[in-house]
Amino acid sequence: MSDHEYQPTSKAGKWFNDRLPLLSLVSHLKDYPTPKNLNYWWTFGGILTFCLLTQIITGIVLAMHYVAHADLAFGSVEHIMRDVNYGWLIRYIHSNGASMFFLAVYIHIFRSLFYGSYKSPREIIWIIGILIYLLMMAAAFMGYVLPWGQMSFWGATVITNLFSAIPLVGESITTWLWGAYSVDNPTLNRFFSLHYLIPFLILGLVVLHIWALHVPGNNNPVGIDIQKPSKDTVPFHPYITIKDIFALLVFMIIFAGFVFFAPNVLGHSDNYIPANPMVTPAHIVPEWYLLPFYAILRSVPDKLGGVILMFSAIFILFILPWLDTSKVRSAVFRPIYRQFFWILVLDILVLGYVGAMPAEGIYLVLARVGTIYYFLHFLVILPVVGYLEKTDPLPINISDAVMSGSSNLSIAKKDEKKV
């Protein structure tokens, strides 16, 4: 929290602030001390906030024209595309916005993995983050069902059937989720209700996420604590706001590129065929952002086993702060972990790729190797490397690291020697 007690200058401001300290909150957010060495990987928090607001605004507009009924949904989406003024634009922003949202969240998550932002004292920030990620997946999945195309219908069928793998009560749970004996109108109707709700739950969690962040403050590229009092920090406004805005503009250019020039590349053309419960498309795939988990699901030749492994792949992230035994946060000073980090990135990309391919032959082999490695990374490599690794010397403070010209002190030292 701010170090100083804020007092509004105007009388009216003081009167209001004494009754509801909103102005103190604004002042806290402006002055919030931020490490001065934050790089562009730290701008994705702001970008994510932008994404959430974009989805909420475009979503509320879509809901004004969309009809949540099995007989009418597909037609109403076409009506949005063809008739509603700028409907095509708003829908393309919403559907591509979901992809951009996930792109940003993946970068944000890998940033945390690289710089050890999940470690003490930031475990709660991390856990809330994973909860947000889970809710995002739920929101995106249910949103994808709404246009009631072939991919909507069969995606919904496959995902809801995951629950039928639960012994004894599985069948009853899927019937309960469906409100019928298959994915049908009641399913669509409730998915719409929940799709509307979840983003607001996410918004609530975002507030908690930032609240929890403002207790210890930001982590930073060298991963050491801020020293107080010191010259390690700058006020959030204008230093970070301007950097965030610049990154956001670049992000929006890419976003607009998709919306205006390739609005359907990330989607699947089968979703422009109305849902047909009698025919499954030959090749069903989820949206790209769910592919690694889909690959894990399919890598196991057993129904329950596949489902358990897929959910474990996500839930393992909750205990990550306790699996990583290293006290050093930033991978900049962890020569061994740094390499495993990049192998993990590659592993997840490979899983994503094979998730989009048919589950046979070489793809199945790759999926299995990738799945085993994924769990190996978290359950074995992280704890063991934390013990064995000899980390590079940490800088005394952030200013020291910045002044040496590189966030990596050891690299900076080496360079000096060469000169």
Binding site: W154, T157, T160, N161, T175, T280, I284, K303, L304
Partner: protein
């Protein structure tokens, strides 16, 4: 708690209050959960009658029942023989073909056309087993009796409740 601490009137009141409170809470939550289950109007649509007089041996038709496809396959004698020649030990979910059809109506296989893995509709006359089915979603192979032979699906395709109203009409449900 100390061993010799006497149970007081107040302890009783606490326990009674918690218990009644929990029951009340449960009774209040239940309607909010149960509203999501299939209602009477959905359950009412639970039977379908199908005229099968036009189906030639070796062919099959598909009808929609409770939102799911049902395969009605009129099998040839050859296919029936093949289904019965299978060694039960080879099966993942051992079941005799005889248990999957109605006695005296051996040629009719009436089965939910729903893969028992994650619910896709398998393609007929595809896969490794002649006259069987193949599910394109994650690669499950079923034989001519609809039994799971290969792939992630755990059990055979389900046989719904059905009966022959007369020689040409099957009532499903």
């Amino acid at each position: 708690m100390a061993k010799n601490k006497k149970t007081t009137r107040r302890d009783f009141l606490y326990t009674a209050t918690y218990t009644i409170g929990a029951v009340g809470l449960g009774a209040t939550i239940w309607p909010f959960i149960d509203q999501m289950n299939p209602d009477k109007s959905v359950q009412a649509l639970a039977t379908t009658e199908v005229d099968v007089s036009t189906v030639e041996p070796g062919n099959s038709i598909t009808v929609l029942w409770r939102g799911k496809p049902v395969f009605l396959k009129r099998r040839t004698q050859e296919e029936i023989n093949e289904a019965r020649a299978v060694n039960l030990k080879e099966l993942k979910d051992p079941q005799k073909d005889e248990e999957r059809v109605k006695e005296g109506k051996d040629e009719w296989l009436v089965m939910l056309g729903v893969c028992t893995h994650l619910g896709c509709v398998p393609l007929s006359n595809k896969g490794d087993y002649k006259g069987g089915w193949f599910c394109p979603c994650h690669g499950s192979h079923y034989d001519v009796s609809g039994r799971i032979r290969k792939g992630p699906a755990p059990v055979n395709m389900e046989i719904p409740k059905y009966e022959f109203v007369d020689n040409n009409t099957i009532k499903i449900g």
